[in-house]
Symmetry: C2
DNA sequence: ATGCCTTTGTGAACGCGTGCACAAAGATGG
DNA sequence: CCATCTTTGTGCACGCGTTCACAAAGGCAT
């Protein structure tokens, strides 16, 4: 998982479990696709397949929102789209700021998938004077000096951090002080925030490392018959757990 | 969480719980920082704080790897770095291919955080003839026609998909057929893969929606005293749960 | 050598999440 | 109006993950 909440042991907000909340966007995506194909109703089985989850799990998830289905028929697609959107707060317009307009920040600014979900990029911020004033994704890049003013004036409550790890905590502090209460962090650092502020992190490097772990395990399992795997690690694999000398030994 | 595994109910691979595996990269990052500052040993309490987790959880996580600590002293930083690296398979070199060299794919290609962890970009692939042959991040962009050859020749077992959702399943199928057994998917689609192939997904839109949910909940809680929040949703907030007419009613 | 102090490693309890399996509900056809 | 069939909503059990709390282990000073 590239993400995880910080603090708070998965509080059950308004009776909806955190795990369910995390799946609602998945259902919404599948439902939106059905809606565009003008499908009127869908069964829990069909929708679950489309969303890649168990149908019992899906029904239980929906039961937290209320009884929106019709037995013997299924769920009304349009109605469910509305209910989930409302539950997720997507009937509102959420202005966000992106701090750090480098490779990743620029890619996010150019991404169309945010606006379609009610997230509007209110401003792009960067420290670099060479970027300030330039236009990225049809939007001027503002200097971080104006961070507090921009956040306040636009009523921004969600901030996206796409700067190197070194400056992330400081930028985070400024965002929080200015009124931001939700942060999406791409910098590989642990951010500490006061109570009441949510932080979610996306760390691509961690995702790859988790894949590598399982990849190594797969390669190790059939170490007796490695020939049936068309692709393997490029360098010489160390099949056995342990068995080679550590680079550094403890004192 | 921006990520989650597909299929398989969290199998305990080689006795190490999935949740622990997901945290090992976090510990490794914190340990690497300590190592660079030449800190010889660290206690579970200190390291846990640096990694943003509970110290008891950290100790239990490490206990799955073995008894690498010294009571009364703590853990040897260098030794632990090595052990975790080995456990994650980072002592190997993992060649990866990135399919889709658009905004996001290019940002990933430019990212230096991969190579530093043993992940080497073996090739960039794109369908667009206008991109083919051009250089991105000092590396030529190959055409997707050569996907199978490149994967086979380089022994690639990890593929990164950064193309629009429409073509993701097809590219996924080709990667798997060519021998890729781990996929990191950025396209907002559910990928179906055969047994033995791991898929992890990163969906930024989902992350924002989860933040929006909690943001709305926070705004709704103190609906009686909204004045003490300096920043709020830009449009008129609908404070109460329900109470307004749905845009669409069920038949 | 001995006692004290720090910190690990883990047993045990608890809570959350998942999935099975089924009764109730409602639609549909005769 | 009744029988049948489909599909929801959920009670229940189970397993994983988290956290507490503490005994054991080892270093260190005297
Ligand atoms: N590019 C990727 O694919 C990728 C992948 C994973 C993680 N990340 C992480 O995302 C972050 C950004 O990556 P990137 O590749 O876009 O880096 P980058 O160097 O291309 O861009 C960083 C930008 O942030 C600006 N910046 C630096 N410090 C700042 C500050 N204090 N205030 C405001 N702006 C500041 C810089 O001027 C620069 O424009 C890094 O933490 C990186 O580790 C990136
Ligand atoms: N840019 C972002 O910040 C961002 C954020 C979240 C999710 N995503 C997702 O990541 C994916 C890529 O986003 P992007 O902004 O880079 O898009 P993009 O349009 O900038 O780039 C897509 C690239 O993929 C190539 N492509 C398309 N179909 C292909 C195929 N079948 N085989 C090989 N190459 C193909 C295109 O030629 C193009 O170069 C999308 O699924 C998008 O939803 C992007």
């Amino acid at each position: 998982m590239a993400t995880g909440r910080t603090h708070r042991p998965a509080t059950r907000s308004r009776g909806i479990p955190e795990a369910t909340v995390a799946r609602l966007p998945l259902y919404l995506r599948a439902l939106t696709a059905l809606s565009e194909r003008s499908v009127p109703t869908v069964s829990s089985e069909e929708l679950a397949t489309a969303a890649g989850v168990n149908s019992a799990k899906l029904r239980k998830d929906f039961s937290y929102l209320g009884s929106y289905g019709t037995r013997g028929v299924g769920y009304d697609v349009e109605y469910l789209v509305y209910q989930i959107s409302r539950e997720l707060g997507l009937t509102q317009d959420w202005p966000v700021v992106i701090v750090g307009v480098g490779n990743l920040g620029a890619a996010l600014a150019n991404y169309g998938g945010f606006a379609s979900r009610g997230f509007r990029v209110a401003a792009l911020l960067d420290q670099d004077p060479a970027l300030t004033g330039r236009t990225v994704a049809g939007m001027p890049v503002s200097h971080t000096d104006d961070l507090e003013r921009i956040v306040t004036e636009n009523g921004v409550s969600i901030g996206v951090i796409t700067i190197p790890a070194g400056g992330a905590q400081q930028v985070c502090d400024r965002l929080v002080a200015a009124g931001v209460t939700s942060i999406l962090n791409f910098a590989p650092t642990v951010l500490s925030v006061p109570e009441g502020v949510d932080v979610r992190k996306v760390d691509l490097s961690i995702e790859l490392q988790i894949l590598a772990f399982h990849e190594q395990r797969k390669a190790g399992e059939d170490a007796t018959a490695p020939a049936d795997l068309p692709a393997g690690p490029h360098t010489t694999p160390r099949k056995g757990p342990d068995g080679d000398v550590p680079a550094v030994m403890p004192a």
